[in-house]
């Protein structure tokens, strides 16, 4: 220390003798302050720039002056509720009034804080019945609770006179799903099920323009879908925010562990075939314009510990469809190992193949023309599909094309991208329907058909045999 002092004294010019702090000392000592000011200025500019960029990219359509405000509540503020809340931020004319989540210490607090930051006067509730009793002005409730709560939540909200957007899977039981359809009919209120690809502009484009109008694939013969998901640890929770056991039991959970990982438990969720497969198998029914006639399934808890993962982490299912054009077979796979090649659906017809995915990052959409099919130039000119990718010039490699191989088809990109969060169009469709300016893209009846189609896979795996569907099964 002593050395430092003398060094300091010797090396600082203009210092007053003695130990007092002089003007020069102060100036020297506070040099960092203007730098900090400069930093603050730069950081603020950077923040504004980023905000402006986000705002520009996600600019909502101008709000019509006569747009009626819709009073909205969020029931279930977990991971999915959070995603839906994000997706709703860009929809004009919504007023959040209430949030309900049994995990008051964490989920509820987080959602309420967030909405208040956006200047919504929201009330938080642990019990949804109390919310329905008190919040008389609500027009619509967005439900993102675990599957086994969907039926009671939806039915009570509908009976309280609210329109409902309910996350898929509609219910973990067919009885539950059926009672939801009936409640929607009884009350005359809207019930949209959260199969959000039904409102995705790319999927709508492929269905309406490419399959129905252009019939680009010819007759669809086989379909394939997959969701490759990587292994990951069970979902945890900050210990200091654990719920008391009494409340967990009241709402049907054995433990915090089960509450956080409900998707893996029988009686609460339906496992990956329902969580992931349901989205894509719904597209099979939609694009084939048919319900399946049979399904076979193979699956099991092959990777995880079956004690905490009651539902199958790996499932492969094959459906048989009797479409208007003939038989089609559809294979679906969901598995737990690594996430390469992600998730997408493939439709193969005698004139072409359509590969599309909700993911904007990978496989966002391509259509391949079988070389013998009629030319697609007309559709390129109309902007339905992009011009074909140029083929690479064949090099003289000396390798002979095997006689059994066919020349590879032309690849055209599907020129439709979604820049909003994935759930925004489906939610917008719901709110438009509430205002009476649109029809629901996935009303309860369609959600029910998908539930019948998907829940049967778990049944087939358990029974270890091929199961048949009757056409009546899909109707209520």
């Amino acid at each position: 220390m002593g050395d430092q002092d003398s060094k300091d004294r010797e090396n600082t010019k203009g210092r007053e003798p003695g130990d007092g702090i002089g003007r020069r000392d102060l100036l020297q000592g506070l040099t960092g302050l203007p730098v900090l000011g400069l930093f603050g200025y730069a950081a603020m500019k950077q923040k504004r720039y980023q905000e402006a960029r986000v705002a520009a990219a996600t600019e909502a359509a101008p709000v019509p002056a006569d747009l009626a405000e819709i009073n909205v509540a969020l029931l279930g503020a977990g991971e999915q509720g959070d995603a839906l809340m994000n997706a709703m931020m860009k929809i004009p004319g919504l007023r959040f009034r209430a949030v309900c989540d049994i995990w008051a210490e964490y989920n509820l607090q987080r959602a309420v804080n967030r909405l208040r930051r956006y200047n919504f006067e929201v009330n938080g509730y642990e019990d949804y019945r109390e919310m329905l009793d008190r919040e008389k002005e609500l027009d619509a409730v967005i439900i993102a609770t675990p599957d086994f709560w969907h039926a009671p939540h939806t039915i009570d909200c509908l009976r309280a006179g609210k329109h409902v957007y309910c996350e898929k899977e509609m219910s973990n039981t067919l009885e539950g799903a059926r009672s939801m359809v009936l409640a929607a009919r009884e009350t005359g209120k809207l019930l949209q099920i959260g199969h959000q690809r039904r409102s995705n502009p790319r999927y709508l484009h492929c269905y309406e323009k490419l399959l129905r109008e252009g019939k680009l694939l010819g007759r669809i013969v086989t379909v394939q879908g997959q969701w490759n998901r990587a292994v990951k640890p069970d979902i945890g929770w900050p210990r200091r925010y654990a719920m008391p056991e009494e409340r967990l039991k009241k709402y049907g959970y054995q433990s915090m562990e089960q509450f956080r990982n409900w998707r893996w438990y029988k009686g609460l969720g339906g496992g990956p075939i329902v969580d992931l497969g349901s989205h894509q198998i719904d597209i099979f029914n939609w694009f084939l314009d048919a319900m399946p006639s049979h399904v076979i399934g193979s699956g099991g808890t092959d990777y995880y510990d079956p004690a905490t993962h009651e539902w199958y982490d790996t499932v492969m299912a094959i459906y048989e469809y009797r479409t208007a054009e003939g038989i089609a077979r559809a294979f679906y796979k969901t598995q737990t190992s690594n996430g390469s090649q992600g998730y997408f659906e493939t439709f193969m017809g005698d004139q072409g193949t359509l590969v599309l995915s909700e993911s904007e990052a990978t496989y966002s959409g391509s259509i391949y023309r079988e070389i013998s099919a009629p030319a697609w130039d007309e559709w390129v000119r109309k902007g339905y599909i992009a011009a074909p990718k140029l083929q690479e010039v064949q090099e003289e490699t000396g390798a002979a094309l095997d006689v059994r191989e066919t020349v590879s088809p032309d690849e055209h990109r599907i020129p439709i991208r979604l820049t909003d969060p994935y759930h925004t169009p489906h939610l917008r469709n719901f709110f438009d329907a509430v205002r009476g300016t649109a029809q629901l893209n996935c009303p309860a009846e369609i959600g029910y058909e998908t539930a019948v189609t998907v829940l049967k896979v778990n049944e087939a795996v358990e029974a270890n045999q091929r199961l048949a569907f009757t056409p009546e099964e899909f109707k209520i």
Binding site: M1, I21, D25, L30, V35, F39, P233
Partner: protein, 169 residues
């Protein structure tokens, strides 16, 4: 320690180095703080080298990971503030040095290791982390906060009289 002269230019360059590193730390922390859902998980998960198991274990436990994220963000911000202002420079410098060495050891640029997360340029054993760590070492060793920094004043205020007498003797 031998008493050496340090001239104005040396003082200024040392202060400049300190302030720039502080700015870098401060913004790294702030950017993570402002980015919702920022997590060190993917950085930790791609760890290579002798401490890979340790870093991967941090990423594997949600409880530990939330602490790591919190400590990292606020560590960066506080170290940044300390360095920019030149206050408690040695503490900030040593903490910064240790933090950077942790980053370095998490993803060391050793021969035959390949990473997919952001790195610009090509490195052989020495990367920018290591250079910044060495620069911090210099600041700590030369007590950089005393030149154009708050420590210049703090030092005078906090200095104990007994030590002062000894120095004067």
């Amino acid at each position: 320690m031998e008493t050496q002269k340090i001239n104005q230019w040396q003082m200024i360059s040392l202060a400049l180095l300190r302030v720039l590193i502080g700015w870098h730390f401060l913004y790294e922390g702030l950017a993570k703080l402002l980015q919702a859902n920022w997590s060190a998980a993917s950085f930790l998960l791609q760890s290579r080298g002798p401490l890979a198991d340790f870093f991967r274990r941090l990423a594997g436990s949600p409880e530990l990971l939330s602490w790591v994220n919190l400590l990292n963000i606020w560590g960066l911000i506080l170290i940044g503030l300390g360095l920019v202002l030149g206050s408690f420079t040695r503490t900030a410098g040593v903490s910064g040095l240790l933090l950077i060495l942790l980053y370095y050891m998490c993803n060391p640029p050793f021969v035959g290791y390949f990473y997919t997360l952001p790195s610009e340029g090509n490195y052989l054993v020495v990367n920018k982390n290591l250079v910044e760590a060495a620069a911090l070492l210099a600041i700590v060793a030369l007590n950089g906060g005393r030149y154009y920094g708050m420590d210049h004043i703090l030092h005078k205020l906090l200095r104990r009289p007994s030590l002062r007498k000894k120095a004067e003797a």
